[in-house]
């Protein structure tokens, strides 16, 4: 008999966290099933990771993003994309505005390692309990949460490549002044 991994996931989820979640499954025209789940309590994400681990699943990736809450205030949400034998299940949590922290699932699912480090440095969300929380891509001198800001190119490049341009601009300006 074919295994129904979606059903197993849903049953384990009810057994572990009761009613504190919403879940729906979508099937596309090719028969591929995708799951969309939202947890009421963000700390339950470690329970979900344990369920995924128990089912032989893995973390495909994790997306952090800024959005608005019901009061139109900026908040962070994190979408965990798990693979359950070819079925992608996205589990979303909201990070409380006053904490900016989330528990690491890397000790449970090793496949979350790099992606948790990346969201920490890009969005400034503290991942608590990560076994190797050092910077992944960005240098230590760059502020955390860099994805929350718009950095003009001239600032990002620190004027390095535009020096020649500005020398020409200044030279031209000073000539104009001299002429006057």
């Amino acid at each position: 008999m074919d295994r129904n991994i979606q059903k197993e996931f849903e049953e384990k989820l009810i057994r572990t966290i009761g009613q504190g979640f919403s879940l729906r499954w979508e099937t596309d025209s090719k028969g591929v099933v995708t799951g969309w789940c939202r947890l009421d309590d963000h700390s339950r994400i470690t329970n979900v990771a344990m369920i995924v681990s128990g089912l032989g699943g893995r973390v495909i990736t994790i997306t952090a993003y800024k959005t608005k809450d019901v009061h139109q205030r900026d908040i962070h949400e994190i979408a965990y994309h798990f693979d359950l034998d070819g079925c992608t299940c996205t589990v979303t949590i909201e990070i409380p505005r006053n904490s900016g922290k989330v528990n690491s699932i890397t000790p449970i699912l090793k496949s979350a390692d790099w992606t948790e480090r990346e969201l920490q440095e890009l969005y400034g969300i503290k991942v608590v309990g990560h076994p190797n929380p050092k910077r992944l891509f960005l240098d230590e001198t760059i502020d955390e949460g860099i994805m929350n800001k718009l950095i003009p190119l001239s600032v990002a490049m620190n004027g390095a490549t535009s020096k020649t341009l500005w020398e020409k601009v200044f030279a031209a300006t000073s000539k104009e002044v001299d002429t006057k």
């Binding site: 025209s29 969309w36 893995r58 495909i60 891509f137 960005l138 994805m147």
Partner: protein, 360 residues
């Protein structure tokens, strides 16, 4: 025995892109590894949120060169899911043909680099010469040797006339015999075997734990291919034979990639034979409503995923993608220890790393 830490990279003759490895060695045996990334980080995930939905088709194609077609294709699939667009059947086949042509060129490139690293330069040149057949095909059909620019929302931007179909068939035929010859060399030549067999071993249970994907996973006995597990484009109509090796070493990963070239040849032939008539794209410029979607594809290096959130405006609220190489780096911590210093570049190459993809 003395323990040393030796730097490999960020610029290294055997690596095509920058990555820094601090390798701990005892004598000439590797005992530990530390990876430092970030030398070509471009902040593209931030950039896509400053550009509109259509501009991002062009931008995502420029993430990487070897798997460039998979990015816009998967991004378009995510948009199509949100907007509920049904892609014409002919376009679905044409997407598969473009993807598989790119797969052949990408895998041959890695096979060639492997030969170069083990000092078998005549094989390297031979493989690159065979690859030219594919490069010529891309140039003739798509007008470009790397970025094909074939994808648009709701289909593709190219079509195949009878004359072009005949040309692709001829080019594919030219590949078959040389492919068999080089596969025989990679599998049986005693010098190639001596350098690749039992080197950089990633046992199956570790491959599962690290969540590795693509030929790295299939070389360690994991039977997982997105084209079969979560079919997209025309892969639900075409049989894909997934090649799995149990050697778990550099040789196994190379054989998987070479076998996948042969499979790509079969898939292209099948697509050309069964190519349905009809339009190649939808006939209007669609509006993308608010929503979220997941799209996945099997790039030459493995599973590629795009997660897209839209808010009804012409810019994405968030676009996140995870490239296959991203998952394979950490597994080097398992592959490296116990091997010799001379094998370091070879083991790194065996994951077919794409650094511009990893760092975005």
């Amino acid at each position: 025995m003395s323990t040393y830490t030796i730097p490999v990279g960020p610029l290294h003759v055997a690596l095509e892109e920058p990555m820094y490895f601090r390798v701990q060695v005892e004598g000439e045996t590797v005992v530990g590894l530390d990876i430092t990334a970030g030398y070509v980080h471009r902040g593209m995930e931030s950039l896509v949120m400053q550009r509109n939905i259509y501009q991002n088709i062009t931008l995502t194609e420029r993430l990487c060169s070897l798997c460039s077609n998979n990015h816009p294709c998967t991004y378009c699939m995510a948009l199509e899911k949100i907007a509920g667009i049904e892609v014409p059947e002919r376009a679905q086949y044409l997407r598969v043909i473009a993807d598989e042509i790119k797969r052949i060129a990408s895998n041959l490139f890695n096979a060639g680099i492997l030969a170069h690293i083990i000092g078998f330069d005549s094989l390297f040149m031979h493989v690159m010469e065979i690859r030219e057949i594919v490069q010529d095909t891309k140039e003739t059909i798509y007008g470009n040797r790397m970025d094909l620019a074939v994808n648009c929302i709701g289909g593709v931007r190219y079509d195949l006339s009878d004359e072009k179909i005949k040309y692709i068939r001829k080019q594919i035929d030219r590949l078959k015999k040389p492919l068999e010859e080089i596969i025989d060399i990679y599998m049986n030549n005693k010098f190639v075997r001596a350098r690749t067999e039992g080197v950089g071993v990633l046992p199956k249970e570790e491959a599962v734990r690290y969540g590795v994907v693509g030929p790295v996973a299939r070389g360690s006995g994991i039977d997982y291919d997105v084209r079969v597990k979560s079919p997209y484009a025309a892969y639900d109509k075409i049989k894909v034979n997934v090649h799995v090796e149990n050697g778990s070493d550099v040789r196994a990963r190379a054989i998987v990639r070479l076998r996948e070239i042969q499979e790509a040849v079969n898939i292209i032939e099948l697509c050309l034979k069964e190519l349905p008539d009809g339009p190649t794209c939808i006939d209007h410029l669609p509006e993308i409503p608010a929503g979220e979607a997941i799209a996945k594809s099997e790039a030459p290096r493995g599973e590629l995923i795009y997660y897209l959130r839209t808010n009804g405006s012409d810019k994405p609220e968030r676009l996140k993608w995870r490239v296959p190489t991203y998952m394979n780096w950490e597994a080097l911590n398992v592959m490296m220890p116990g091997n010799k210093v001379a094998d370091i570049p070879l083991i790194i190459t065996s994951i077919d790393p794409c650094i511009s993809c990893t760092e975005r």
